[in-house]
């Protein structure tokens, strides 16, 4: 629906919590949801001024206080986010929750030193107090100067018909019950379906003393479900997820059917699966979810906060050849509707795509404002934060490897004895040592070039730079994962995505068992 912005804002001089009500209430109060409706370009202007009285004047004043002790740069980040979560268990939708978050974070920089404070109260007094606290990182005379804001142009990456706040409760509940019921009906052996549906709408504003002013709204939706099956007294379970920056239209068509089909098939396959043998062996990564390898083994090590301090194993490798010619890795904030997409990062840099490894050569790190200034380069749009309660740091968005020259069939055929790794759940990395790991939920043994015995539950561990050198074949079948993950760093969690074609790594240590 497209409505006029001015009119919309006049009609919605309500309060924060009102914005949450249309989630669950009928149309009589649903007009409050208009606050989060957008003009089609998804960029809504004046939201915080209209609803909470935080406009250019107050922001200018707050930033001026922030520079009162001689800071070089100050920024305010305003955020209003409404999340709901619906649970299906024991054959019914029997629990739901809503979480409302509203606040502002003020950051002051002096070189690479940061002062940070936040407030959940958007009154002028509370903002002034936060700004005063953040200002204390600096110990000089005021650096205040006249401030004119310029609107930063950003792309529209999350086109949608309805914001989540505008979706009636019964439609959201139906998502959970549909998935749950389909799982239980998926096979006679299914004894349990635990489903959770999570949706959110977020509005944010970044303004800084460089004069940037940017506002954005972001949707996010995710379903995750566990299926438990029982056969001949044995029990197996499997967890699967899907996620996107989309509205409810994401789940139209065959999306939910495909999701359940994948989940049920993998749960059943677990009965045939065994833990793989232990030791180092060739690993073929299936396209899509295996991109977690890039996230752990390379992506984190490429984050510029680690590199500007020299604590990443990649700190001395800029410009160097670190992989074969057919290896190109990038991190993109601009793939529309992806879970990791951001039209603008959380410090006001518009969304970009950043090539990290080009034809085997390391060409860029992932920067935020601090690191790009220190290393004298442009910010890459990777300054992200969990919420207004945190200062931004370099984070990944959607990290992927470009398609290569090899035929996926040929890649599998080239392996005499190894594993085909298909689905993953989680991973971790040690930045300086370069060791990474990721956990395989399901896959197959490869014997004499063919997929044979299903395998499950094995941690794969390796060393980032070694794995890059050991990447010996890259398929022509690049695929983005739909089960996007959530990445943790310094206690902050942000949504991310990955993608990868079929890839052969000549040796990774597989945490299996030997009989």
């Amino acid at each position: 629906m497209k409505i006029d912005r001015r009119e919309m804002l006049r009609s919605t001089a309500g309060t924060l919590a009102v914005a949450a009500t249309p989630l669950w209430l009928p149309a009589t109060v649903a007009d409050a949801a208009d606050k989060l409706k957008t003009e089609g370009n998804n960029v809504m202007q004046g939201y915080f001024e209209e609803n909470f009285g935080v406009g250019p004047e107050l922001i200018r004043k707050t930033l001026s206080i922030a520079l009162q002790s001689g800071g070089e740069y100050a920024e305010i980040f305003l955020q209003h986010r409404v999340r709901d979560s619906i649970g299906f268990e024991d054959g019914r939708v029997n629990d739901a929750s809503v979480n409302v978050d509203l606040g502002a974070g003020v950051r002051v920089l002096v070189g690479d030193q940061t002062g940070y404070a936040f407030t959940e109260d958007l009154s002028p007094q509370a903002l002034a107090k936060a700004a005063t606290t953040a200002a204390s990182i600096a110990r000089k005379s005021p650096t205040d100067r006249p401030l004119e804001f310029n609107r930063v142009e950003i792309p529209d990456l999350y086109p949608r018909q309805r914001v989540w706040l505008d979706v009636p409760a019964k439609e959201k509940l139906a998502l959970a019950s549909t998935v749950g019921e389909k799982i239980l009906a998926g096979d006679p052996s299914m004894i349990k379906a635990n489903v959770r549906v999570q949706n959110e709408d977020e509005v944010l504003l970044v303004a800084n003393t460089a004069g940037d002013w940017v506002e954005d709204t972001r949707p996010l939706t995710r379903i995750y479900a566990t299926a438990v099956a029982e056969k001949d007294g044995r029990r197996e379970s499997y967890l699967h997820r899907i996620s996107a920056r989309r509205g409810i239209d994401y789940y139209a068509g065959s999306q939910l059917d495909d999701f359940v089909k994948h989940l049920v098939a993998r749960a059943l396959q677990q009965f045939e699966a065994t833990q793989p043998p232990a030791g180092a062996m060739p690993v073929v990564l299936a396209p899509g979810t295996s991109g977690i390898l890039l996230h752990e083994a390379m992506g984190h090590g490429f984050e510029a906060d680690f590199n500007r301090k020299g604590v990443s194993i990649y700190s001395n490798m800029m410009g160097k050849k670190i992989a074969a010619d057919f290896v190109t890795i990038y991190d993109s904030g601009t793939i529309a509707n992806e879970r990791g997409a951001i039209s603008v990062d959380d410090e006001g840099t518009p969304g970009k795509e950043t090539v990290l490894v080009k034809d085997g050569r390391l060409v860029s790190y992932l920067h935020d404002r601090i690191s790009s200034q220190q290393l004298k380069t442009e910010p890459t749009g990777n300054g992200r934060r969990q919420s207004f309660r945190y200062a931004p740091i370099p984070r990944m968005r959607v990290t992927a490897m470009a398609a290569g020259p090899h035929d996926p069939e040929e890649i599998i055929k080239s392996v005499k004895r190894g594993i085909y790794a298909e689905n993953f759940s989680n991973g971790q990395v040690m930045i300086g040592a370069g060791d990474y790991s990721f956990y395989l939920r399901s896959g197959y043994l490869i014997e004499d070039g063919k997929l044979t015995q299903p395998i499950k539950d094995a941690n794969l561990i390796g060393n980032g730079p070694d794995t890059l050198l050991d990447t010996v074949m890259v398929g022509n079948d690049m695929e983005l994962a739909q089960d996007g993950g959530t990445c943790g760093k310094d206690g902050q969690w942000v949504p991310v995505g990955v993608g990868i074609p079929t890839v052969k790594v000549s040796s990774i240590t597989v945490g299996g068992v030997n009989s």
């Binding site: 309500g14 309060t15 924060l16 919590a17 949450a20 009500t21 989630l23 669950w24 209430l25 019914r92 939708v93 739901a96 809503v98 979480n99 409302v100 978050d101 690479d112 002062g115 940070y116 936040f118 959940e120 109260d121 936060a130 606290t133 990182i137 409760a169 635990n194 566990t226 438990v228 029990r235 197996e236 379970s237 833990q275 232990a278 030791g279 180092a280 301090k309 020299g310 604590v311 194993i313 309660r389 200062a391 759940s425 989680n426 971790q428 990395v429 930045i431 300086g432 040592a433 990474y436 790991s437 956990y439 539950d457 941690n459 794969l460 730079p465 240590t509 945490g511 299996g512 068992v513």
Partner: protein, 443 residues
């Protein structure tokens, strides 16, 4: 009563009355406010100074089997009515489930009357320069101890105070107030080639006086990093695993997660049906003790208002009690105990880590895990590990890029020795543990 608590109480009670006026009688409300300050040092300058106060109100509504929860950080009185409308409407949209009820008021009775010493009043006297001093000392000392190999060192100091008020419409009321103090060191060292292993160590306590000295935090930090220099991957083998105290917590965590009514009801527990059966070596005794003075997990009542008491979880290897909250307890026909851990104590052995290593002879000392996971339903696990190869009871060299795998049911029966060295900076007071015949995957 402090002004702070009075305000919290009055706002929370308004919320409860508001829900009840809207026709829903069963309400659990928890509100809190907290303040946290942190200072991080790098190159003898503050790298990051953060300070903020935070507040939260969460409501759980019970309406004849219908259940919903809502949380907000917006305490403006004018925002409350709409928030309550939301909560009530959401609750009414749910499918009834007869097990969604408030806890039985019987469980609120006999709340212990002990001083948990959770709140350090001296926090108010902590001056900004004290924090700077601590963080700067950790960084400087760590750099000094590591010498030329140090690439980067950090010292951090953090403290927080929180006040929580909880009220249930069926007769529960409680408050808790607590402080926490944490100091951390981290250091990155130059190793062979491009490798730059890092070490990290933290000390945490309820009382500032219980914190390790900054110099000690720095020394431990450097020790951890140095133990990772020149790491090698060794061959795939089955051998003795010594899990160092901080690492051992993760292994205990898997067991505790499975001993929870929620996991059992959701068929995501390898311990289903194991009550009163052997789930670990006879050496294992685990107790949940919420009343430990100064314990990081201490409490007089849990999130459901259930009065705290000491609970044996595993006794001489036998599973004696599970963590059972009201909802999943009703689902499974189990009496509620408490829904989650407070302080978890393992009965200690009498040997230090050095003595455990000497006894083991040849072993792998696991100092930490890297990723990995377990399948909660089957107990299959596979975890990345790093540590030290032990030969003839002595550390030989650092080990990295290895995995361990097996079944948790088997692993816990393979436990052969327990140390005397729990790390105090955790609510899980778990010492170093020794397991026989563990599958390691390496080169």
């Amino acid at each position: 009563m402090s002004t702070e608590l009075k305000q919290l109480k009055s706002f929370t009670q308004q919320a409860v009355e508001g829900v009840q006026r809207r026709g829903i009688t069963g309400v659990r409300a928890v509100s809190s406010n907290s303040r946290r300050v942190s200072v991080g040092y790098r190159k003898q300058r503050p790298e990051k100074v953060e300070e903020a106060s935070s507040q939260s109100l969460s409501l759980q509504l019970y309406d004849n089997g219908r259940y919903a929860s809502c949380q907000t950080s917006d305490f403006r009185p004018e925002a409350l009515p709409a928030f309550l409308d939301t909560a009530v409407a959401m609750c009414r949209a749910m499918t009834p489930d007869e097990d969604r009820v408030l806890p039985s008021p019987d469980l609120y009775q006999n709340r212990p009357k002990v001083d948990l010493q959770a709140n350090d009043a001296s926090l108010a006297q902590l001056a900004p320069q004290d924090r700077h001093q601590i963080a700067a000392t950790i960084e400087a000392k760590a750099r000094e101890l590591a010498g030329k190999q140090a690439i980067e060192a950090n010292g951090d100091c953090e403290d927080s105070h929180s006040l929580v008020y909880q009220v249930h419409s069926n007769g529960f009321e409680g408050t808790r107030e607590g402080t926490q103090f944490w100091t951390y060191g981290s250091i990155t060292l130059q190793d062979e080639g491009e490798k730059r292993p890092a070490g990290w160590f933290g000390s945490g306590a309820r009382m500032r006086a219980d914190l390790a000295a900054p110099e000690e935090v720095a020394a431990k930090t450097v020790e951890v990093a140095q133990a990772r220099l020149a790491a090698q991957r060794i061959s795939t083998r089955k051998t003795v695993m010594i899990a160092e105290n901080r690492a051992a917590r993760r292994l205990v965590g898997f067991l505790i997660c499975a001993a929870n009514a929620r996991s059992i009801h959701r068929k995501e527990s390898f311990l289903e049906g194991q009550l009163d059966k052997s789930v670990a070596s006879e050496m294992v005794t685990l107790t949940d003790n919420p009343l430990l003075p100064r314990g990081l997990g201490s409490r007089l009542f849990d999130g459901e208002g259930i009065s705290a008491k000491t609970m044996p979880v595993v006794e001489q290897g036998v599973l004696k009690n599970c963590y059972v909250g009201t909802y999943y307890g009703r689902k499974l026909g189990m009496t509620p105990t408490t829904g989650g851990t407070s302080n978890l104590l393992m009965e200690l052995g009498d040997k230090s880590l050095d003595e455990l290593m000497a006894d083991a002879g040849n072993a792998l000392l696991v100092r930490g895990f890297l990723g990995g996971n377990s399948n909660p339903t089957t107990g299959d696990f596979s975890l990345g590990v790093y540590g030290t190869l032990i030969e003839n009871g002595q550390p030989k060299h650092a080990v990295a890029e290895m995995n361990i795998a097996g079944r948790l049911q088997d692993l816990w029966q393979q436990l052969v020795a327990i140390g005397n060295d729990p790390d105090p900076s955790s609510s899980m007071l778990i010492p170093s543990l020794v397991f026989d015949d563990v599958q390691f995957a390496g080169a």
